[in-house]
């Protein structure tokens, strides 16, 4: 949300009354802006100490879509209307005898195709209103203009220029002028180098730097007005004494072009000799299209009282709604043909209104959010947890009851933590990588819970041994079949850290949770079991050689390998082996065992790893003690939850 600093005394003078900080805070709250700070006390203290001090300011946060509230002029106007001290001003175009023109050249289509202008006549600035004018342009540039990328504004002393104006795009070496606050002329190419060293301008250079042509605005005598979105010219710069102001706006889309030129022109038209009057300019596009700028006409739309009442639980008449809308600077009247319909003229200063619902909201704000009835929805529904949450909670509770401590590391980690430090290689098929992290701490989404657990142990080295920590949370991996090319997987992991590694302790933790999930252990002598889990020794660089195992799960309903399967499958491959000329018995044996392990590997699911961590791993994580670790996916253990709706598939 943008914050606007306004002169306190000036604002209260415009509002025609003084407020205490508390009263003004309340007014802001009801209207939907926020008083961030009142510098009065600070200023008074500085004055007391004899220090230089500015005038007391109110710092007001305004909603990001209310460009009409980005300056004191707009805030005061909106609040006066809200407080019913005045009607919303009517902005008008005053056409001169002969309208000034500006032409747009076809080359601008390559870089910044849209152009608008407006003229404010006989302006009388004071130092404070002049500063406010500059500040509004800056606020617009930082917000809707997206740091000048989408829209850029230039303002000029019209009396130093001669119309008609030309908006062109030229190769940078063909542009030469004396830019604002410089005493010499430079080509655009030179300027790009000079401004590289000027911080406040350097951040805008990228917008046009690599374009073959740069946007540039000339007057009749080929004098440059500005080179948007970078800099204005010294020649046409405005000062406190400027009487007639020429505003130029360039943009990449016409909607924002119009919003910006309208806001600048309407906000500062109050300083014209004839307040709220704006002189238009004729803009001629390369295709011959002519636009009279700015287009400050209001947009006629309708809102239904019945809709507004149904959304707010009020029973307001159309007339009441119309008068509430007037307080929000929307001109509204009841439709002569339909008493439920309110005709609303949305002024050009309220581009935040898209839909009837925006008018509904303005009605509710004017009525007061805190004056609305407070009811309770009658929606009757049945509560339902997710299967994955229930399972996770079960593991968390059981492990905590078993004496382990739950920790909560971050999901993002560095590439090294996720791979190199675990002695793992990045196959580029698994981990999701970030494009724009601010620090190396956040390079990938973890594919394992181990780095977080190990970092937690590292930071808790002073905790009395043994340290036993666990986490039950998501990791994420690439998945080419998914729309977002990735999916989360719920893992459970635990690390034991003590003076001895204690493989049997993490193994006990695994046995415990499996017992609670009613998954029996499959031992060598029960390998034909129809359901269960077992460990199988493996070599894995994360773990100490000879102290690592894969955890396998045999789901219920998956038939274990049977005698008949065993007798069938090998006979076929045995024949092949014989044909190849190997020793018949050895070949059969080999084939049998290959077939059996193949069968098992298709039926049984590898769910994770368990083992003593490799000494180089604990060293990388700066842990001076041996550790045993356990990590596995919880996905196979999820229990289907009943659907909430009877007719769900």
């Amino acid at each position: 949300m943008p914050t606007v600093a306004v002169d306190k005394e000036d604002l209260f003078e415009r509002l025609g009354q003084s407020y205490t900080t508390e009263e003004f805070d309340h007014l802001c709250f009801e209207f939907g802006i926020e008083l961030d700070e009142d510098t009065t006390v600070e200023v008074e203290e500085a004055v007391k100490k004899g220090l230089p001090a500015e005038r007391p300011q109110l710092k007001i946060e305004v909603p990001a879509n209310r460009y009409d509230l980005l300056c004191i002029e707009g805030i005061a106007r909106a609040l006066r209307v809200f407080l019913q001290k005045q009607k919303a001003p009517v902005y008008k175009l005053v056409e001169p005898a002969s309208m000034l023109t500006a032409t747009v050249s076809p080359e601008t289509a390559q870089i910044r195709p849209f152009f608008a202008c407006a003229i404010l006549r006989n302006v009388a600035f004071t130092p404070r209103s002049y500063a406010s004018f500059m500040d509004l342009q800056d606020k617009l540039h930082q917000n809707i203009c997206r740091r000048r990328q989408l829209v850029a504004i230039g303002t000029h002393d019209l009396d130093t220029l001669e119309p008609p104006f030309r908006y062109e795009a030229r190769p940078p070496n063909n542009i030469k002028f004396k830019p604002l606050n410089k005493s010499e002329e430079y080509t655009a190419t030179e300027l790009m180098n000079i401004y590289e060293g000027e911080k406040h301008l350097a951040r805008y250079l990228h917008i046009i730097r690599d374009s073959p042509v740069y946007p540039i605005i000339y007057d009749k005598q080929d004098r440059v007005l500005s080179m948007p979105p970078i800099i204005n010219s010294e020649h046409s710069k405005i000062t406190l004494d400027t009487k007639n102001i020429f505003i130029d706006v360039t943009a990449t889309d016409e909607t924002k072009l119009n919003i910006v030129v309208n806001i600048v022109a309407t906000m500062f038209s109050e300083y014209c000799a004839e307040p709220y009057s704006i002189e238009p300019v004729r803009v001629v596009y390369p295709d011959g299209r002519t636009v009279i700028q700015p287009d400050i006409s209001s947009r006629r739309t309708t809102a239904r009282a019945s809709y507004i009442n149904s959304c707010t639980a009020l029973s307001l008449s159309s007339e009441e709604i119309a008068s509430l809308l007037e307080r929000m600077s929307l001109e509204a009247s009841v439709s002569p043909s339909n008493p439920d319909e309110i005709q609303v003229d949305v002024p050009c200063t309220r581009p935040d209104i898209f839909h009837e619902c925006d008018i509904m909201e303005d009605t509710a704000i004017a009525y007061g959010f805190n004056n609305l009835p407070r009811t309770f929805p009658t929606t009757s529904t049945v509560a339902q947890p997710l299967a994955v949450s229930k399972l996770s909670d079960l593991v968390r509770q059981e492990w905590a009851m078993a004496g382990w401590v739950e920790v909560l590391p971050l999901i993002l980690c560095s590439h090294d933590e996720n791979f190199a430090w675990l002695n793992r290689k990045d196959d580029n098929q698994t981990a999701i990588k970030l494009a724009n992290p601010k620090t190396a701490e956040y390079q990938v989404i973890r594919t394992s819970l181990l780095p977080g657990l190990l970092k937690t142990i590292r930071e808790n080295r002073k905790h009395p041994l043994p340290i036993r920590v666990f986490e039950t949370s998501d990791i994420a991996v690439k998945d080419k079949s998914a729309e977002r090319q990735s999916r989360n997987i719920r893992h459970a992991a635990a690390v034991w850290c003590n003076k001895t590694a204690g493989f049997e302790i993490v193994c006990g933790l695994l046995d415990r949770i499996m017992a609670m999930l009613e998954v029996p252990r499959i031992f060598t002598h029960t390998e034909n079991a129809t359901h269960g889990y077992y460990l199988k020794e493996t070599e894995d660089p994360t773990f100490f050689p000879g102290r690592a195992a894969k955890i396998f799960y045999r789901p219920k309903g998956n038939p274990p390998y049977s005698e008949s399967q065993m007798s069938q499958t090998p006979s076929g491959s045995g024949t092949a082996q014989e044909a190849a000329g190997s020793g018949p018995i050895a070949a059969v044996k080999e084939a049998v065992s290959a077939a059996v392990s193949k069968l098992k590997s298709t039926d049984d699911v590898e769910i994770g790893l368990i083992g003593i961590l490799h000494p180089t791993v604990v060293e990388k994580f700066e842990i001076p003690y041996p550790c045993s670790a356990l990590e596995f996916t919880l996905e196979p253990f999820m229990k289907e939850v009943p659907h909430i709706w009877a007719d769900d598939a």
Binding site: C311, A313, F369, P409, A435, E483
Partner: protein, 503 residues
């Protein structure tokens, strides 16, 4: 010796009914009565043992006594500096005066320096030529005498003023002396029994518990901490929020999707493609995998249309549209991306839309600079109610009930801006400790531009609200730095000690 002393106390009590002042006792093996502090502490040990058996009771008494400092002791032994100086000088007219240099050599620098001044002041010595002589044949070394008296009696007959003077000179210091008065206890006897500390299986078997005497238990002593595990405090608060939602009939939304596309995270929510929230500054984008698969075509076209040219009664943003921005992969900045996906699925489910109340609590990511209150990851708590004809009044009333369950009773609502809700309401609660209104969450009614393209039936309104899980947790546990709550720097100790959450 300890038992002998205990026996002595018991015998003395038996004989004299009480011991008024334990300083009168003579510890067995000692020559003199136990007047020193050290001796009294030994006596206290014996008294405590007897007290635990309820054989005696005692009260503690305090006395102040004066003792000499190191320097005071030296003076009491050797005389004051001035007396020492006087003693080495020749009497006036009876020998060569002693030079200052020789004096220093004889008595040392410090004594020479301090002693000279005082001896002059007392009129004991005088200068003669370059040296010093003594004026009197005898002196009365008051300082030494007084210190000797204090050393012997612990006090000074001359009175407090003289003591104060010596204390100022750092020769004397005050010492607290504890002593005791003892009486017979309820179990008084002159025979010392051995006391049992705990009831054992052997006692049960042998029946010894019937006759055994047990040592008195110290109920002030802390118990031994149990060897149990602990759940993380933030997730305990999550549990409490889940319970509140469940109590109110909410179903949990699936949110297991850290990676979202620009389409689901922003476009479907009617967040314009040029919105600052989509900046590299604020959002983590994914470099690998490179982009999402195309979203469902029909829905995608409707969303694109409502942004670029409007529809459903809206004028739309009328701004350029980029397919690439829709397909960009990113880390979700809010769980509302998942809510949006679920609402779309609900609108298109078999059997048609049904009213729902749903919630989620899960991790979201912001590419922000981290500080004491911001991390790049936090948990969002989100609630969604979708039904026909529900209103802003329902949202406000609902919020009141929801927060009441967390013990927050005083709410007010501020109009705010959010691209996907209209009206948008910031929820403020009065914080009695801070004595001000603080923002505790955001809420609103989802915009028609978001709901209509999904195909939700006319007249269905969707209320939504969200808050962070970390903020109420930090308030609950009085935590100022978020790094002590989330992440690997959290101390395991603090997890073990964090109290249960009861809003």
């Amino acid at each position: 010796m300890a038992e002998q002393l205990q026996q002595l106390i018991l015998d003395t009590l038996d004989r004299e009914k009480e011991i008024k002042d334990t300083r009168t006792l003579t510890i067995p093996g000692d020559a003199a009565p136990a007047t020193s502090q050290e001796a009294q502490l030994v006596v206290q040990g014996a008294l405590n043992s007897l007290l635990s058996k309820e054989m005696v009771t005692y009260s503690m008494q305090e006395a102040f006594a004066y003792a000499l400092t190191q320097e005071g002791n030296d003076i009491a032994d050797k005389g004051s500096h001035e007396a020492v100086v006087w003693s080495v000088l020749p009497l006036k007219g009876q020998g060569a005066p002693l030079s200052i240099k020789d004096l220093k050599q004889k008595v040392g620098d410090e004594t020479a320096k301090i002693g000279q001044g005082r001896a002059f002041k007392n009129g004991w010595i005088a200068k003669e030529g370059d040296g010093l002589v003594k004026l009197t044949e005898s002196i009365d070394d008051t300082t030494r005498n007084e210190l000797a008296e204090i050393r012997a009696t612990g006090t000074l007959a001359a009175g407090e003023k003289a003591i104060a003077e010596l204390r100022k000179r750092k020769l004397v210091q005050q010492k607290k002396l504890l002593w005791f008065s003892a009486q017979k206890g309820s179990n008084f006897s002159t025979s010392l029994d051995k006391l049992e500390t705990d009831l054992t299986a052997e006692m049960l078997q042998s029946g010894a518990w019937k006759t055994a005497k047990f040592k008195k238990y110290n109920f002030d002593a802390e118990g031994i901490p149990p060897n149990g595990g602990a759940l993380h405090p933030l997730l305990k608060v999550r549990e409490e929020f889940r319970n509140i939602f469940m109590e109110m009939g909410f179903a949990e939304m699936p949110t297991s999707q850290f990676v979202e596309s620009g389409f689901w995270c922003f476009d479907t929510l009617f967040v314009p493609q040029q919105h600052p929230a989509r900046d590299l500054q604020d959002t983590f984008y994914v470099s690998d995998p490179p982009e999402s698969l195309p979203p469902p075509t029909d829905y995608y076209e409707k969303v694109q249309k409502v942004h670029t040219v409007g529809g459903y009664g809206s004028i739309g943003y009328r701004a350029p549209w980029s397919d690439a921005d829709s397909r960009k992969l990113l880390l979700r900045t809010h769980t509302t991306a998942s809510s949006s996906n679920l609402l779309w699925r609900l609108a298109n489910r078999k059997g048609g839309f049904k009213p729902v109340k749903m919630f989620s609590i899960d991790r979201v990511f912001r590419n922000e600079a981290t500080d004491a209150t911001h991390l790049a990851e936090f948990h969002q708590v989100e609630g969604v109610v979708a039904d026909y004809g529900i209103s802003l009044a329902d949202l406000i009333g609902f919020m009141q009930t929801f927060f009441k369950k967390m013990g927050i009773h005083n709410l007010r609502f501020k109009p705010a801006y959010n691209p996907y809700t209209e009206p948008s309401l910031e929820i403020f609660a009065f914080h009695p400790m801070l004595d001000k209104w603080v923002e505790i969450g955001n809420s609103g009614m989802f915009r028609p531009e978001m709901l209509a393209p999904m195909g939700l039936p006319d007249g269905v309104q969707v209320l939504g609200w969200g808050l962070s899980l970390e903020r109420p947790t930090m308030i609950r546990y009085g935590i100022n730095n978020i790094r002590t709550l989330v992440g690997h720097k959290v101390s395991i100790d603090s997890v073990e000690k964090s109290a249960a959450v009861r809003f």
